[in-house]
C-alpha cells in the first residue's frame, strides 16, 4: 500500500507519456487524410486546454478566445510574406504577440465578470477581425493571404501532413502539460479560489488581478502557437475563418462536455467531440449537424457536470446512476 501511494504521483506522468507514445505510434497506421483528421483532434485538444486555463479553473469564460488564434495565424502569415522570416521564428513570435495581446486586453477586461467578460472578449475578437479585414495592404483583407510555401519566396519548407501531425501533437502535449502544472501549482489553487469566491480569494492574499492577467496571457500564448501552426498548415487563410466565433464555441463545448476545471476534461471532450462530428459528417452527410445537436443535448442532460467530473464524483460516492445525476440538476 505504502509503495502504491509513493508511486501515485507518477501515474499522470506515466499515462501522459504512454498516450504520447501511442499517438506517435498511431501515425504510421494512418493514411494521410486520416492523419489530417487526427491532426485536427490534436489541434482542438490544445485549444480546449488553453481555454480551460482561465475559463475552467477561474471561471472566466473568454468568448473571444479565437482572437489569439487569429493573431498568431495572421502574425505568421504577415511576417512570412512581408518580412521573410522563417516559420519557426514566426511560430515563437506569433505565440508571444498573442500572449502580449492577452495581457494588454486582460488588464481592463478582467475587471469584468461572468457574461460581461465573455461578451467583452467577443467584442474584441470581432473587432480585431474587422481590423484585419480592413488592412488589405498588410493582411490581404477579405481576399485572404497566401503564405509563401513554394519557390524562392518560401522561407521554410512546407511540413506536409506528417510534419503537422507531429507539430500539433507537440502543441497538444504542451497544452496538457501546462494545464497539469498549473492545476497542481499555487497558481492553480489561486485560480480555483477565484472561481469559488473572488473577494474571499483577494482577502486571503491572492493577487487576483495579476494571476488572472498572467493566466489569460498564458492561455493566449498556447492559442497563438496553435493559430500560427494552423495558418502554415492551411497556406491560404481568411479573416472569417481565423476569427471564426465557431472555433471559440467549439473550445467551450469541448471543455464543458469533458469536464471544466480539470486536466483530463478538455482532452476527453476534444477527442470525443471532434471524433464524433467527423464520424457523423462522413456517414450522415445530409443531417449530421442535426444528429450532433441531438447528441450534445442528450449528453448535457445526462452529464451536466461533464464526463470527467461525473466519473470522479461517481467513483467517490459509488452512485453511477445517470437518472440520479439528472435529478441533481433539474428544477
Amino acid at each position: 500500500m505504502a509503495a502504491a501511494a509513493r508511486w501515485k504521483p507518477l501515474v499522470p506522468w506515466v499515462s501522459g507519456v504512454l498516450l504520447l507514445l501511442a499517438a506517435l505510434g498511431l501515425q504510421s497506421q494512418l493514411y494521410s487524410g486520416q492523419e489530417r483528421t487526427v491532426t485536427a483532434i490534436f489541434m482542438f485538444v490544445a485549444l480546449a486546454q488553453a481555454w480551460n486555463l482561465l475559463g475552467g479553473y477561474a471561471g472566466y469564460a473568454s468568448f473571444g478566445q479565437v482572437v489569439f488564434f487569429g493573431i498568431g495565424g495572421y502574425f505568421t502569415a504577415v511576417a512570412m510574406t512581408h518580412w521573410h522570416l522563417s516559420f519557426w521564428t514566426c511560430l515563437v513570435l506569433g505565440g508571444v504577440v498573442a500572449a502580449l495581446f492577452g495581457a494588454l486586453i486582460g488588464m481592463p477586461l478582467l475587471r469584468l465578470r461572468g457574461h460581461y467578460f465573455a461578451i467583452a472578449t467577443l467584442g474584441v475578437a470581432e473587432g480585431i477581425r474587422e481590423v484585419v479585414t480592413n488592412l488589405p495592404g498588410l493582411t490581404g483583407g477579405g481576399a485572404g493571404i497566401t503564405l509563401p510555401t513554394v519557390g524562392d519566396q518560401a522561407t521554410t519548407a512546407y511540413l506536409g501532413n506528417d510534419g503537422f501531425y507531429l507539430l500539433f501533437l507537440a502543441l497538444a502535449a504542451l497544452a496538457v502539460l501546462v494545464s497539469g502544472l498549473v492545476a497542481g501549482s499555487r497558481a492553480g489553487y489561486a485560480l480555483r479560489a477565484i472561481h469559488q469566491d473572488e473577494q474571499a480569494a483577494a482577502a486571503m492574499g491572492v493577487n487576483t488581478t495579476r494571476i488572472k492577467v498572467l493566466t489569460f496571457a498564458l492561455s493566449g500564448l498556447i492559442t497563438g502557437l496553435v493559430g500560427a501552426t494552423y495558418a502554415f498548415q492551411q497556406v491560404t487563410i481568411f479573416p472569417e475563418r481565423l476569427f471564426d466565433v465557431d472555433i471559440t464555441v467549439l473550445m467551450v463545448v469541448m471543455v464543458v462536455i469533458g469536464g471544466s476545471g480539470t486536466v483530463l476534461g478538455p482532452l476527453v471532450g476534444a477527442v470525443i467531440l471532434q471524433f464524433l462530428s467527423e464520424y457523423l459528417r462522413q456517414n450522415y452527410t445530409s443531417y449530421h449537424i442535426f444528429l450532433l445537436g441531438a447528441i450534445i443535448i442528450v449528453a448535457v442532460v445526462l452529464l451536466p457536470q461533464g464526463a470527467v467530473n461525473y466519473l470522479r464524483d461517481a467513483r467517490r460516492t459509488g452512485e453511477y446512476s445517470l437518472l440520479a445525476n439528472v435529478r441533481r440538476y433539474r428544477l
Partner: protein
C-alpha cells in the same frame, strides 16, 4: 481511454485504400460540397449539377475508358462551407484512392482545395471558384470551366456601353468586402474607365450583410447614372430594396452581378426587380451541345424534370465541370490522374455550357459571360447580342 478512442478512430475509418480510381466498373470521383453553413444554398445546386451529370453519363452506360464502360460514382462529403474542411476532405479522398475531384462551391473553398490537390497529385475541375487569385499561383492540376471574377461586372459594363441609349455617364460600384467581390469590383472599374465612364469611388460593405443603407445614402447625393453591385444574392436584394426605401433612383439603372440570375431575386423583390441587369456564367440560350446533355435548352428541361425548378447557372457550371472531367477521362483512355490531367489540358470541346478549352493557368479560354435582365419577372439574356433572347431595356429605372 484515449488510446482506445484513437484505435476506434482507426478502426472506423481505416479501410485500406481501394487501389486507385476506377477499379472494377466504376469511375470514382470525390466531391466536397457546402451542404450546410453559409453556402448551403449554392452547395445544393452544385450537388444537383454533379448528380445530373452522373445520371446522364450512366444512362448511356457510363464513360468509355480504354475499351471499358465505367459508371460514374460521385461520392459527396459536406465541408460545412469551411475552407479548411474542404481541404481536409480532399486529403481524405486521396486516402481512399480517389484522385479525381470536383470542387466545392466558392473561391475560398476552391483555393484551399487547389493547394492540396497540387500536393497530392490529384486532379480537380473547378465549377464555382472564380477568383483570379486561384489561377495566378502556377497550379497545374486545377481546371476551371467558368469565367474568372474580373469578368462578372465587366460584362455588365460592356453591355451598357454597347447597348444603352442614352449612354449613361457615371457609374458607381457597391461591393461586398470578400476577396471574390473585390476582384469583381476591380475588374469592373477598370473596364468602366476604359469605356469612358466617370467612375466614382466604390463603397464597400460587409459580405453577407442585409443592410447596405449607409453606402446608398452616401452615393445618393452623387447622383450616379448606374449603380453596379458586386454582390451575392443577399446583398443584391438589399441594394434594390433599400434603394427603393431611400429613394435612390439612378437615371440609368442597376446592375448586380450574380444576384439577378438567381430565381429568388425576382421572387423576393417582385416588381422592384424589373429591368435589373445581372451577369451569368450560363443561360439557357448558350450555344453548343455535347453527347451527354444535348444543348442548353435540353439541359434546362432535364433539371426541371429532375429537381422541379428552373436551371440556374450554378447547376450548369457544376454539370460542365463534371462533363469536362468525364470527357478528359475518356480521351485519356485511363483513370490515372496524370493522364487525365494531360487530357484536360488538351481538351477542346463543344458543350451545352459553350466551348471548353483550358489555358495553361487552367482557365476556360472560350468562356464569355452573358448579361441578363429581369423582364416581366424572368431573367432573359440580353448580351452578347448573338445570344440575346430579348432586347435591352434602357433606362432600367423608368416606370
Amino acid at each position: 481511454m484515449a488510446c482506445s478512442l484513437a484505435l476506434a478512430a482507426c478502426g472506423s475509418k481505416g479501410e485500406a485504400p481501394s487501389g486507385g480510381s476506377g477499379t472494377g466498373d466504376t469511375l470514382a470521383i470525390g466531391a466536397s460540397l457546402s451542404l450546410t453553413g453559409a453556402l448551403a444554398r449554392e452547395g445544393k445546386l452544385t450537388q444537383e449539377g454533379y448528380q445530373l451529370c452522373q445520371d446522364k453519363v450512366n444512362a448511356q452506360g457510363g464513360v468509355p475508358v480504354g475499351g471499358k464502360k465505367l459508371k460514374l460514382a460521385i461520392e459527396y462529403q459536406d465541408d460545412t462551407s469551411k475552407p479548411d474542411t474542404a481541404a481536409q476532405l480532399v486529403d481524405q479522398f486521396n486516402d481512399k484512392g480517389v484522385k479525381l475531384i470536383l470542387a466545392s462551391y466558392g473561391s475560398a473553398n476552391t483555393e484551399a482545395q487547389a493547394a492540396v490537390i497540387e500536393r497530392n497529385g490529384q486532379v480537380m475541375v473547378d465549377s464555382a471558384g472564380a477568383d483570379n487569385k486561384i489561377f495566378s499561383k502556377g497550379y497545374k492540376r486545377t481546371f476551371a470551366v467558368l469565367s474568372p471574377a474580373t469578368e462578372y461586372a465587366s460584362s455588365i459594363v460592356k453591355s451598357i456601353a454597347e447597348l444603352a441609349q442614352p449612354k449613361p455617364k457615371s457609374v458607381v460600384f457597391l461591393s461586398a468586402d470578400d476577396g471574390f467581390s473585390k476582384t469583381v469590383t476591380e475588374g469592373g472599374m477598370k473596364t468602366a474607365q476604359e469605356q469612358g465612364f466617370t467612375v466614382m469611388s466604390p463603397q464597400y460593405f460587409k459580405s453577407g450583410t442585409s443592410d447596405v443603407s449607409s453606402s446608398l445614402i452616401k452615393v445618393k447625393g452623387q447622383r450616379p447614372d448606374v449603380i453596379i453591385g458586386s454582390v451575392h444574392l443577399v446583398e443584391g436584394i438589399a441594394i434594390v430594396k433599400q434603394a427603393k426605401e431611400l429613394g435612390v433612383v439612378p437615371a440609368g439603372g442597376f446592375g448586380e452581378t450574380v444576384a439577378p440570375p438567381t430565381p429568388d431575386f425576382a421572387k423576393t423583390l417582385g416588381a422592384q426587380a424589373e429591368n435589373v441587369l445581372g451577369s451569368s456564367q450560363w443561360t439557357p440560350s448558350t450555344k453548343g451541345e455535347d453527347k451527354y446533355f444535348g444543348n442548353a435548352q435540353q439541359y434546362t428541361s432535364d433539371i426541371r424534370a429532375k429537381f422541379g425548378h428552373d436551371a440556374e447557372y450554378h447547376d450548369a457550371e457544376a454539370s460542365a465541370a463534371c462533363l469536362a472531367l468525364t470527357l478528359a477521362a475518356e480521351s485519356a483512355g485511363s483513370t490515372s490522374p496524370d493522364k487525365v490531367r494531360d487530357a484536360l489540358a488538351a481538351l477542346d470541346t463543344a458543350s451545352f455550357f459553350g466551348k471548353i478549352k483550358f489555358d495553361p493557368t487552367g482557365q476556360n479560354v472560350y468562356k464569355p459571360m452573358s448579361v441578363i435582365q429581369i423582364q416581366k419577372g424572368k431573367a432573359v439574356t440580353v448580351w452578347p447580342k448573338d445570344a440575346a433572347e430579348a432586347s435591352f431595356i434602357w433606362p432600367g429605372t423608368a416606370s
